[in-house]
């Protein structure tokens, strides 16, 4: 179905960006916030409208398109600026605009008093535009525009406080690391384009590609799938390109919540789900996705165990949870991956915003060793934080439980026992580090520094209301995807609404083998047990024994502790292996030799040559009109002589 209002979902944030970007400082902060929030609210309302139009269609014909114009027309290649909404897109749309809107509202309070207030909201709206373009595009080229657009906004927002060196460097790191991934992504796109072109299909439209994917040989598909996944590892912070995400925490906290937790970093997962028709035919590539996802999940969780900066713990947690999502799509359970993407967007955005509220209350303190005992001082933040923590830990009944469990059971059912084990251990670690954070921040004795302790205060309503809405979503958001096993216990057939809704998009994906009820129950009980064990362990280590256990554990295994605290020294290794040699090469060869000697030499040489030549011949310019007439005469005679005498 063609529906021409889809484009306006994009238009409003773009307008907001233009207005705030150009006229922001003159409008006053209140108007800026209103424009930015209003633009996203309009997009959200339109997304909801489009969603209802979509579900009104029959289940197998749920596709709304909107061709804006022909974007590229070169020879026989035609690429349209065409938007597309199918069930997968609609989920992303609602998550992006919904969470995005809440974060915009929160930012109005959080960024209050910042001197670059209009710039912040302009970037935020530009980000919304790029992210929505990524999600809505109907071909991979247009998707790449959005893909790069969110990368740009990520860079701009990480380095938002560019006066701080660390923020500026973090922005550069994010951008450059993403370039590495994008290089792979582009190669994948080129490979696909040439493969399809050799079969006479001169478009990169998702639906057209899906229809003709069987023409391409599986080898090419595998390589293309892995190359595209390289792009995803950059954008979604997976091994080995995850290094930028922890540093990205230099940006304002709402940015961390919106871009580096809820939306942009999930773009890789979305891309793989979108290209499911390709990955289904490339099992090796899918295997790579699952293994990298599983390893990243465990790896990042171990680092998260010992970090002391509240936002860094959440950053590693995000990497770990993204790993889960890749496990989900990697084992072929695309719906489960997207389901976890959605619930994660809710509770992780909430965790970040809650952390922002804590930081706000403590006048900018981010070190958890200087927190503690905040439970009664900021009760609303504590309550919502607890809800989010329970959700991420996988405590039954909350959203995270349903999504994480469906991924783990899919991993087990598809026979990836090793990956399942990785996820299973990660579940324990997740519960542990997140409750470590809770206990260190909200419980126990107050370790808050004196001058900060005097100002501890609950955040204003404009910040707490989005938190409460997100808390409600984190708690109840999972009930649209209740596993059939639990649904049938209470006589609810087709309880897996989410999977059924997305099923038409993933119709090429082979169904996962059915599991016996006892096995599935056992798995579920196992992961519940892991979650509770993790919470309990954190309680024992950090509250009961007042961190003495933690200290003694660190003392008993100093090597491991230092390894984890220094994040496995990956930054140092990258620095020594890649950055140093490159800097050395750039300085010695590119700068001192190539730039100074050859480039500058050529430029200066040609300039001085011109100058010297001009000095000689400028004497001819006497300024005397009649001399010019004579010269002109001589010229005319020469030409005449040529014609007469030839």
């Amino acid at each position: 179905m063609e529906l021409n209002i889809v484009r306006y979902i994009l238009v409003f944030p773009l307008l907001g960006f233009l207005v705030n970007g150009f006229a922001g400082p003159r409008l006053g902060n209140k108007t800026v916030g209103l424009i930015a929030g209003g633009a996203v609210l309009l997009s959200l309302s339109l997304s909801v409208y489009v969603f209802f139009r979509l579900i009104a269609l029959p289940a197998d014909a749920r596709l709304i398109t909107d061709t804006v114009y022909t974007w590229i027309h070169s020879g026989s290649l035609t690429i349209d600026f065409k938007l597309m909404v199918d069930p997968l897109t609609s989920v992303m749309l609602l998550v992006v605009t919904g969470v995005g809107f809440l974060i915009h509202v929160y930012s109005i309070g959080y960024m209050h008093g910042d001197r670059s207030y209009p710039r912040f909201f302009a970037y935020l709206n530009l980000f919304m535009f790029a992210m929505l373009l990524l999600v809505l595009s109907s071909n991979i080229i247009l998707m790449f525009v959005g893909w790069e657009g969110v990368g740009l906004c990520s860079y701009l927002l990480i380095g938002f406080w560019y006066e701080k060196d660390s923020a500026a460097n973090a922005g550069k790191k994010a951008f450059i690391t993403n370039r590495v991934g994008d290089y792979g992504f582009l190669l994948g796109v080129f490979l696909l384009a040439s493969a399809f072109a050799s079969k006479g299909i001169l478009t990169l439209d998702f639906t057209t590609m899906a229809a003709h994917i069987s023409l391409i040989s599986p080898k090419i598909l595998t390589v293309a799938g892995i190359l595209l996944f390289v792009g995803a590892t950059g954008k979604s912070a997976q091994l080995p390109l995850y290094v930028w995400l922890p540093d990205a925490m230099e940006g304002p906290t709402p940015v961390s919540a919106l871009i580096h937790a809820a939306t942009m970093v999930t773009a890789g997962v979305y891309m793989i789900a979108r290209m499911n028709f390709l990955y289904v035919l490339a099992p090796t590539a899918l295997e790579v996705v699952a293994v990298v996802g599983g390893l990243t999940a465990l790896y990042a969780a171990t680092i998260g165990l010992v970090q002391n900066d509240i936002k860094r713990v959440l950053a590693y947690s995000t990497i770990s949870q993204l790993g889960y999502m890749f496990v989900g799509v990697g084992v072929g359970a695309f719906s489960a991956g997207i389901f976890h993407l959605m619930t994660h967007a809710f509770f992780k955005a909430l965790l970040f915003l809650g952390a922002g509220s804590v930081i706000h209350a403590l006048s900018g303190e981010q070190d958890m060793r200087k927190m503690g005992g905040l439970k009664n001082k900021i009760p609303v933040t504590h309550a919502v934080f607890l809800a989010a923590a329970l959700a991420i830990s996988g405590i039954p009944g909350l959203s995270g439980f349903f999504s994480k469990d469906s991924i783990l059971s899919a991993a087990y059912a598809s026979g990836h026992t090793f990956i399942w084990l990785l996820g299973f251990i990660t579940a324990l670690l997740t519960a542990f580090y997140i409750f470590r954070l809770i206990y260190m921040t909200f419980y126990g004795e107050s370790r808050v520094e004196k001058h900060a302790a005097e100002h501890v205060h609950e955040s204003p309503k404009v910040m707490t209301i989005p938190l409460i809405v997100l808390a409600v979503l984190s708690v109840f958001g999972g009930y649209i995807g209740v596993p059939q096993l639990l649904g049938s216990l209470i006589g609810w057939h087709h309880s897996d609404i989410f999977v059924n809704y997305l099923a038409p998009v993933f119709h090429t994906a082979p169904a996962l083998p059915e599991m016996a009820v006892p096995t599935e129950s056992l798995l579920m009980i196992g992961s519940i047990a892991m979650a509770i064990l993790g919470v309990f362990a954190a309680w024992y280590v950090y509250l009961k024994s007042k961190m003495k256990t933690a200290q003694s554990a660190a003392g008993a295994l100093p090597g491991v502790y230092r390894l984890l605290l220094n994040k496995y020294y990956v930054d140092e290794i990258y620095n020594a292996v890649i950055i140093r040699p490159m800097m050395l090469f750039s300085e010695v060869f590119l700068w001192k030799f190539f730039d100074v000697k050859i480039v500058d030499g050529a430029v200066n040489g040609s300039a001085s040559l011109t100058q010297r030549a001009s000095n000689r011949i400028r004497k001819i310019q006497t300024g005397d009109f009649q001399v010019y007439v004579m010269l002109f005469l001589i010229g005319v005679i020469t030409v005449l002589a040529y014609f007469v005498l030839r």
Binding site: R618, T622, V629, L633
Partner: protein, 99 residues
């Protein structure tokens, strides 16, 4: 009566005009000579138009007259300007346009 005679006539007139442009120092007389050169060319056009029996040459003359009119207007404006600036209309006053 041959075409060559007309060509030679117009060329002689053209050369006389050119001598004026090249030799005179008075800006007004230089301009007069310039107009005379254009006029010599017009004669050539008209003769060619007659010789080839086509009106194109006459059309061309109309264009030349138009351009000459515009050119004279601007040139005289410049003369006025130069006079106001220098109080004289010597060509030597216009030597500033050099390196």
């Amino acid at each position: 009566m041959s075409y060559q005679m007309l060509v030679v006539l117009s060329f002689v007139l053209f050369v006389i005009g050119m001598i004026g442009v090249a030799m005179r120092r008075n800006l007004i007389i230089v301009l007069v000579s310039l107009e005379l050169m254009l006029n010599a060319v017009n004669i050539l056009f008209i003769s060619a138009s007659r010789y080839l029996h086509t009106l194109d040459g006459q059309i061309f003359v109309i264009m030349v007259i138009t351009i000459a009119a515009a050119e004279t207007a601007i040139a005289l404006a410049l003369v006025v300007k130069v006079f106001k600036m220098a109080g004289m209309v010597k060509i030597d006053d216009l030597k500033k346009l050099k390196w």
